[in-house]
Symmetry: D2
Subunit: 312 residues, 4 copies
């Protein structure tokens, strides 16, 4: 049953208003100081349909940084740059059940490589695989890739978020040096982290995320031009990871309650994909205890139930 | 693209023959002594299509015990018996990244309840939730449930496998007493384990599994009679778990390489579901190092690639 | 500097009175229901000097069960029964840093044997090594051993504590089945646990503990008769374990703050040894967050500082 | 029974010769490239008696770097610089049961501070507590402290070992950034590590270690001058840690088999103390699987048995 997009467009403001109440239960992330300024009550959404129709509601114009949402796209770019075999020599394919910045399995499970590319340890290794002679070249290529998928040149690095993260990200440094010691990370730590921090600090709006999600929903093909932007095989890999690992250690619950590929970030963004139909971008800075936008997850649950989006 | 079932039927014997070679790399499970007698080289498959068509090849007549495949069905029965809320008060919804019989997260992650119903700890709790005044009643209800979904009265308890497992399952006893101590398991340990061991020892053939899978593929409705055997909501839950946790700690890789809901058992069986189309039953006793039928997984990968079955 | 025992005898009542105040910060153990009845404010001590002099103060007549203090003596009896090699094939010699009933290292550190004989897992294995055709014989031999070292026939099994523990000790059952599965425990689980629960439920007073401690302080020789009750080598092993592992995961702090071999139990008892001089028995049911008698530890710290008892 | 030093001096060469054979079972450390050049078969020992007598045998003139032996002395200097309370706000007092460079407990056990000052995580924090305006000042003070205790100005930084360690110590960087993130390490990571790497790279001979050990054996007093070099209370703390944590995760076994305070280093050195009598320095680069000099441990075991050195 394809989503009745006209109905959705009409109802969207009411649903956003209703779900905004959940933001009161969440907390804006503070571990990157710059993120702590985000408005607790904000909630915005944009949806891009394969047909070209779009809808949006709430604080959808509010800019926010990709943070962990970027991990989906650096994975895709690394697959394009290095191929499947080289990527999966360095990171695994399994959910961990642990928090996103955990080091436990790196020490406990041989051969000490990250379990998947969507936890911090894995994403850091992925950043090291992006082609480029310098960190700047790598970051530039990531930004161009994001802009192409977003269909817009406005996504840019938020310098103050980047500097804030770079100045405080000691846990990520710890992960990176551990990976270096395990010989999983071949590149130098600080240049790799520079690429990682910058990809996290790319600033977008919901509409950008929705457009990027639509490319994934459409198996890598730009629906307006018909051009293949991403190999279908890699899009499939990305969507698989989004289902099994995309919502941190609440991915299993999200698969049951919502049932679509999604990836959240600590700034409160969510990228979601209704395969064959829709890309969705959400911003809601107040996070639940698993690190996902609390109002955003409720909004997706409501939409998924209403339009029967679950893949399962 | 619906599967070309005629083409599949014709090719199936060749594919089985080709994949049988992988069995040489695997090992038949020995931790339940009775299972150690299974033929290393066996490989069989049965497929039931929604249209009523069926196909099979290889050692598809070979009987085998459900083992962990039973966990999908006791979860469904517990959901029917107790409802969603009562079940998920006792078990979580998340993959673990650990081996199937691990105790780590029970000690490390509060509140000490099993992460999901498809690991041993979770399945033992689920067994305790099946309605019935005695272990025999509970086991009887599980067997009836399996027979109904299989559309056949022949599935029965394999007494020697049951006794072999009951006599040697000290790790499961350890898990159960831990759960009892954590007050997650309310029932007595040995009667609960009796139910658990018996469900694992239900003997079937590939055709039974295929028929049970077809009911799941058809959202709980018997395709021949149109009767609802299972609530659609619970089938969705089951399929979600099969994707995120069904193939032990190789579930993430299976999602990428095959991309359909599946559950394996230590006897070498695999239940797989092509939503809207097909139920699949496989037997291949030689297991890979993650505990899944090595030839069986290769066969499913080949079929999925050929017919583009991946949900992702 | 040998302890000035006359001075100590005179000051003891004041010190007990002063340390009793610390009991208010602790909590009486409740995990064995029978233990929950113990008086929170109680504090008693008895000291036996090699010269034959004794001193006592406070609630020193209050009976209490040995609980984990018994682990020192079953270790000694197992060494006598089986020899050093056989014992250390089954248990290690290392402190764990984990809580007393942890299972983590049994799963994480190969070959899955308990790290030392003073954690629950190790003590259960030790109980299985005591010679005897039946659990009753083994328990009888342990009781006789305790009585001999205590120089008194009054220590006996407290039946209600034994039954209370046997009825509720699911975590210990979990440990025992895990050890059985790891093939570290060779005997059957329930008979072994019966021996273990009974040794924990031996009821004594501070004077008994002091007398048993004096035998250890005197390298195994009964100071009144000159008879060797324990081989000196095994007493050394016991005292080593008491220093490195005797006070649960506060053993390191106790070594620094008090500096003498000691072993605590969850009923609030402490056995302490001033080598070459004294045996000490303490009862103080209110426990600190590491499971040691809070007032008892303070009293030992004060005495050790006053009389310079630290071995270090 | 005071050690018969004359007898010991005469027998020492034979014992060294006998124990040298054990070196064949061990492996020279390679994780710091410069250490890999050490001779596998070397074994040397020096003993300094309180009376002024000394003895030595084997390769006792061979220079080696302190490595983890330095942790005992930076702990002492930090205690002198900051006092007991400030030091133990930052590090705990408990053995871990884990390997020396483990991160597990930093993540698993709140509040995320190192369990003790003799594991790498703890020693890095201790290095940050040494007074000094610059890393050079801190390192200089550590070196002066070592020279004073060694009674010799020859101990110096081995620049190539220092550079080799600084270039490869990614696991230590990972630990340090983790501690920084946990707010246990207040100073910057690289300057702190610079101090840590330098203290590890102080080059000594067995005689230096023996002299330093003698000061500990003599409760902090220089036996030749009678001057107090170290407060007795801090020496007691150091000796306690040496017993419970000094020989990595073989400390419990060493307490039983040898029974004296000791600390080993990855270059193959061992510092050992016979309280009230002797300081001992050993070098034997081939390590056992716990990271201790294999021939060195055997030699200490033999000496301890012969002269009944065990404290227990």
């Amino acid at each position: 049953m394809p989503t009745d997009f006209r109905h959705l467009s009409e109802q969207l403001p009411d649903w956003v208003q209703a779900c905004r109440a959940y933001a009161a239960d969440g907390r804006v992330a503070t571990y990157i100081p710059e993120l702590a300024h985000a408005p607790q009550q904000a909630l915005g959404i944009a949806l891009h349909h394969k047909s070209g129709l779009t809808a949006s509601a709430g604080d959808c114009g509010m800019p926010f940084t990709l943070q962990s949402i970027s991990k989906v796209f650096t994975l895709l770019l690394a697959l394009i740059d290095r191929g499947e075999q080289a990527v999966f020599e360095k990171v695994g394919m399994e959910p961990t059940g642990d928090v996103f910045n955990s080091m436990l399995k790196l020490e406990l499970v041989q051969p000490g490589k990250p379990f998947n590319p969507l936890i911090n340890a894995g994403a850091i290794v992925i950043s090291s695989l992006i082609r480029g002679d310098t960190p700047e070249q790598k970051s530039g290529r990531i930004l161009s890739f994001i802009r192409e998928l977003a269909g817009d040149d406005r996504p840019s690095f938020n310098e103050s978020v980047y500097r804030s993260e770079a100045a405080t990200a000691n846990r990520n440094r710890s992960l990176a040096y551990f990976l270096k010691d395990n010989k999983v990370l071949d590149e130098d730590v600080e240049p790799t982290l520079d690429v990682y921090f910058k990809q996290c600090a790319i600033e977008v709006t919901c509409a950008h995320i929705a457009r990027m999600g639509l490319v994934l929903a459409n198996d890598g093909v730009d629906p307006s031009t018909g051009r293949e932007l991403l190999p279908k095989r890699y899009v499939r890999i990305a969507k698989s990871f989004m289902v099994t690992c995309g919502m941190y250690n609440a991915s299993g619950e999200f698969a049951i309650q919502v049932g679509i590929p999604a990836k959240s970030g600590v700034a409160g963004g969510i990228l979601a994909v209704v395969p064959g139909e829709l890309g969705i971008g959400i911003i809601g800075p107040a996070l639940n205890d698993k690190g996902n936008s609390t109002a955003g997850v409720h909004l997706l649950k409501r939409l998924s139930e209403q339009y029967d989006w679950s893949m399962f």
